[in-house]
């Protein structure tokens, strides 16, 4: 069941233009599956009228905590990044459909670009609990774009590309040598659209199952306004409700 709740910011870590927000609710959390997101109300920001959709980066059921990994790209995310420990943030959650979890024994690759790495963390943790060991392939423009690499590495092997070669292999994620060397059963992707389309192309070429998480602009986040549609093989579907995760078979790309 979806809810609106005031969370308290109990922890904050800054990574350049990104920030990790640890938020605690008084009440127990609703059930959250990897890939779902929250709609955050941005208070005290005159130029931010609507809520902002942010993926759920991590969940700590025992402590009623969720984490968000936010990249400060505009006024709204900058205001979120400026929140102080002790501040309250109003969230609507959990929203959307999550990723389809793999079954034991499947070889999975989690591909993240830029801030798109955010939902992959909770996804990987959940898989690991089910006994599936994920491999991460994370890409950024430069080393500084890749945040929390240690945290990812502690869950699974973590491969990296940077466009300037400052970390891992030089180039885009799609150019990483892993594609030549290994086979995967399931590929999970989140990142800039162009990158997701490129990964989807590889998956399709190799006939591999692939789910991507779309980041369309949203108003309601509930499937009510029909603003966030993706033109799929089934027609215009709301990313907030039918997604944000889609199997690439359903998409026109």
């Amino acid at each position: 069941m979806k809810q609106i709740a005031d969370f308290t910011l109990v922890g904050k870590e800054c990574y350049g233009t990104s920030v990790l927000l640890r938020l605690r609710d008084e009440q127990p959390l609703p059930e959250i599956v990897p890939g779902q997101f929250v709609q955050v109300r941005v208070d005290d920001s005159p130029s931010t009228y609507l809520r902002r959709p942010i993926s759920i980066h991590d969940v700590d059921v025992a402590n009623h905590e969720i984490s968000l990994l936010v990249q400060m790209v505009g006024e709204g995310t900058r205001h979120l990044g400026a929140a102080n420990v002790g501040d309250q943030l109003n969230l609507v959650l959990p929203l959307g459909n999550g990723y389809t979890l793999p079954t034991k024994g499947e070889r999975v690759l989690l591909v993240g670009g830029g801030i798109g790495i955010a939902p992959l963390y909770y996804l990987a943790k959940t898989m690991a609990l089910k006994g599936v060991k994920p491999t991460f392939l994370l890409g950024g423009k430069k080393a500084a774009d890749l945040v929390r690499v240690d945290a990812y590495s502690s869950i699974g092997e973590t491969l990296i590309t940077t466009e300037d070669g400052s970390l891992g292999e030089k180039g885009m994620v799609t150019m990483h040598s892993v594609w030549q060397q290994r086979q995967f059963d399931k590929i999970y992707v989140c990142g800039p659209k162009r990158m997701m389309m490129a990964v989807a192309d590889i998956a399709r070429a190799n006939n591999v199952w692939c789910e991507v998480s779309l980041e369309h602009m949203m108003a309601c986040g509930l499937g009510a306004c029909l603003c966030c549609v993706e033109d799929t093989v089934e027609g215009n579907l709301c990313v907030c409700k039918e997604g944000p995760v889609f199997n690439t078979r359903r998409l026109k790309w």
Binding site: Q3, I4, P46, H216, M217, A219, A224, L226, D231
Partner: protein, 301 residues
């Protein structure tokens, strides 16, 4: 808190939710007990299915937003067969917002809706700015509105609410034409036509270039139009446009509205509609009004 809008449309309280902003109500049942509302107005529906406009369909603006959804919906028959059975037993008034591109579509659609027991009213959308043939042509001239309202009136025998476009020189004139053609009430405003540009990319932010402006920013215009129309017509006026809290809702009532609708504010606080109903009750108590209907047009001076 009861409001009687006439011809069988009686609201438990003046608060309804605006078409296109509350889905089919189902999307909000986790947040609002629909029995706390006077009514819900479901997504704009056309006779035939429509895919709507391409993404991007919305852009944020100062204290508001633009949308060019373009009436994406599965058509009246699908509504009747698939959606209606799911929502007809909601403990509130369920109104259907009917749009069209031709006179025939409006009439055919209204005829079909007329058969649905649990739909006490149509809100006739003659004012959608987001589709070439979205009825806006009907909504901006007296001749257009007279034609569509009187034709629909012939086939539709329940409460006929006509939703007016604010993109006109003289809204009172249009409202009078709707009244004369047989409308039981008018609701206003639909969105103001606007536009947004991404200066860095030198491109429109919306796929259709222009879209409809809604949210708090339009409230002063909406309030003025409600006031003008309420002075002009005798049928009830339903006010909307930027209502974000109970105080805003009271302002619309004071300006002459008999009921109100909440649109964009649902996106910011999915529970806002019920809160507004509560807040209006508090206002009445605090100011010594026995019935919420005493607020209608109670502006002084």
């Amino acid at each position: 808190m009861t409001i009687d809008l006439g011809r069988g449309l009686v609201l438990r309280n003046p608060v309804m939710t605006a078409s296109g902003t509350f889905g089919y109500g189902e999307e909000y049942t986790d947040f609002v007990d629909l029995a706390q509302l006077g009514g819900i107005i479901v997504k704009g529906t056309t006779l035939n299915p429509r895919q709507g406009n391409p993404y991007p369909r919305m852009a944020e603006t100062p204290s508001g937003m633009l949308n060019c959804v373009g009436l994406q919906n599965k058509g009246v028959p699908y509504f009747i067969n698939t959606i209606y059975p799911r929502i007809k037993d909601f403990d509130t008034n369920v109104l259907l917002n009917l749009s069209g591109s031709t006179l025939e579509d409006y009439v055919r659609g209204a005829e079909m809706i007329n058969t649905l027991d649990k739909i006490p009213a149509i809100e006739l959308n003659v004012s959608c700015p987001n589709v070439k043939q979205g009825g806006m042509a009907f909504g901006v001239t007296c001749a257009g509105i007279t034609q569509v309202v009187s034709e629909v009136r012939k086939v539709y025998h329940k409460h006929l609410m006509v939703k007016l476009s604010p993109n006109v020189t003289n809204i009172a004139e249009i409202a009078l034409a709707a009244e004369a053609a047989g409308a039981d009430s008018v609701s206003l405003i639909n969105t103001l036509m606007g536009m947004a540009i991404d200066a860095e990319r030198r491109q429109p932010k919306l796929s259709m270039v222009t879209g409809g402006l809604s949210g708090a920013c339009v409230k002063p215009v909406a309030l003025r139009m409600v006031w003008q129309v309420a002075k002009a017509v005798k049928i009830p006026v339903v006010g909307l446009g930027g209502i974000s809290n109970a105080t805003d809702a009271v302002e619309f009532m004071l300006a002459g509205a008999s009921a109100i609708e909440i649109g964009t504010a649902n996106f910011i606080d999915p529970a806002i509609s019920a809160k507004v109903a509560d807040g209006m009750r508090d206002y009445c108590e605090r100011h010594g009004f026995q019935k919420v209907s005493e607020l209608i047009g109670a502006l002084e001076g």
